[in-house]
């Protein structure tokens, strides 16, 4: 399926996601992409076998977590947080950087821009 995602404002993100939830859509995944100095996060939902996508453009700070609407989003949001350094506000469970990476892992290894989220001390490598 060629992706046709609709951009939503960050301020409207949760209300948009809530509409999908209340409309009976299941949560499929979130996909984070590097833009030049920002991130694009695509939210994918499914009803039956049909997919729908929305996306936000963010600088990676204070992105509202949708894990209070779809609790299963906590896994992928923890992963994005660790691999890209995106900060989510209101994560249902924050694994504190121990979900996908270890203590000696590089910081935000998939992010093009340098966002350092030191939660355990040490230096960016």
């Amino acid at each position: 399926m060629i992706v046709n995602s609709r951009e939503v404002e960050i301020s409207n993100l949760k209300s948009e996601v809530k509409k999908y939830h209340d409309g009976g859509y299941r949560f499929v995944t979130e996909t984070c992409l590097n833009l030049e100095d920002k991130f694009k996060i695509i939210y994918t939902f499914a009803i039956g076998y049909d997919l729908e996508n929305i996306h936000i453009i963010t600088d990676g700070k204070n992105v509202p977590s949708v894990s209070d609407i779809y609790s299963c989003a906590l896994a992928v949001e923890n992963e994005i947080k660790e691999l890209f350094g995106v900060e989510f506000d209101g994560l249902a469970v924050d694994f504190g950087g121990d979900f996908m990476l270890g203590e000696s892992s590089p910081i935000s290894p998939q992010a093009d821009i340098e966002i350092i989220r030191r939660e355990k001390g040490g230096k960016n490598e």
Partner: protein
């Protein structure tokens, strides 16, 4: 009076085929909380898409996971083909389907053996793995490899199955089916199996849907979703219905996988009888045009989602793989609290975890 204790479970544990770490908070023998940690085999394969060209990436995605290897390659190739507007020959669609179903059989048999071993039923473990060897022999005879068979390429497949091989495969499948019938009786009716699985780790249909569970994890809870019914590859030419159980416990998930093995045998028979003569691939020239595509298919463990963003060069901008085990982690975290410590290995294996897939 009861006290809470925290017990580390994994990453090295006798029942775990792959490294996952769980911090289990227990009250006496009852699990009250579970926190997962991964990353022991994280390889950053997604980022290789920016360094290897899109044809080389077929080899990379086949190594996301050995057991789902063929279907990772297939989904990636189908995504690139959609982006490039490539229509693969019908014979290639059938061949992809046959190899995918062979993988589903050997994946489910591998899982069943590990599952039996998790609750001490070693004889069942040995029997299932003995039967699985016949499937591995078929893979080796038709592709040259047992596990990572590397048959998919952008534009079709690189190997064919001739009529002599087809006859031999059908004969081997008859043997496999006969032996599976004996095991099927054990899996469905044996006291030990039922004691350790019936009513254990119940996930309701609503919970499975809400938590985004997929594959046998969702089907065992009554969620009637199987991407093969959308008709990708040669499934559009074959007759089948998704296999669904309603009880939502470990036994129901067990039954789904067991019944899917028989279904896969039937699908391979159908595919071999209907497969037309013709080319097995088409030449693909140039690079994928700029664009984004999502491709999905039904792996043994459930729905795998490939997102690809191309920039018009031979290197992809972004490859993202949402694997079925990753989708089933929230469901695992749902069924662990409230369980007995002795059931934790059974519950972990009941999602058929592939940590290699999860970490990519």
């Amino acid at each position: 009076m009861s006290d809470k204790s925290t017990i580390p479970f994994g990453p090295q544990h006798p029942v775990l085929p792959e490294p996952i770490h769980l911090k289990l908070v227990v009250e006496d023998e009852k699990v009250v909380e579970a926190y997962p940690a991964f990353g022991f085999v994280h390889r950053g394969l997604e980022t290789l898409a920016q360094k290897k060209d899109f044809n080389q990436m077929v080899y990379v995605v086949e190594r996301v996971c050995g057991i789902c290897s063929c279907m990772h390659g297939q989904d990636y190739c189908e995504a690139i083909e959609e982006l490039m507007g490539v229509q693969v020959p019908v014979r290639a669609e059938y061949l992809r389907t046959i190899w995918a179903e062979l993988h589903r059989i050997h994946s489910h048999l591998l899982w069943l053996g590990l599952f039996a071993d998790a609750f001490g039923f070693e004889n069942l473990f040995m029997q299932t793995w003995k039967i699985r060897e016949k499937i591995m022999d078929i893979l080796e005879a038709t592709s040259g490899n047992r596990v990572i068979i590397s048959v998919n390429i952008v534009g079709g497949v690189r190997k064919d199955i001739n009529s002599e091989q087809a006859k031999w495969i059908l004969k081997e499948l008859d043997d496999v089916e006969e032996q599976l019938k004996d095991i099927n009786d054990v899996v469905m009716n044996n006291y030990t199996v039922k004691e350790r699985t019936v009513g254990i780790g119940v996930l309701t249909k609503e919970e499975a849907y809400e938590l985004g569970a997929t594959g046998p994890m969702a089907k065992g809870s009554g969620v009637d979703l199987d991407l093969r019914t959308t008709g990708y590859a040669a499934y559009k030419y074959l007759d089948f219905e998704p296999i669904v159980e309603k009880d939502g416990d470990s036994y129901a998930r067990n039954l789904v996988r067991m019944r899917e093995i028989f279904q896969s045998i039937d699908l391979i028979r159908q595919a071999l009888s209907k497969m037309p003569e013709g080319d097995i691939n088409v030449p693909v020239k140039g690079n994928p045009p700029a664009g984004e595509v999502i491709s999905r298919l039904e792996q043994s463990r459930g729905e795998v989602v490939y997102y690809i963003k191309s920039n018009g060069t031979k290197f992809l901008d972004r490859l993202r793989i949402r694997t079925p085990t990753f989708a089933n982690i929230p469901a695992l975290l749902k069924i662990l609290p409230g369980s007995q410590l002795q059931d934790v290995p059974v519950l972990i294996l009941t999602i058929d975890p592939c940590i290699s897939c999860t970490e990519r």
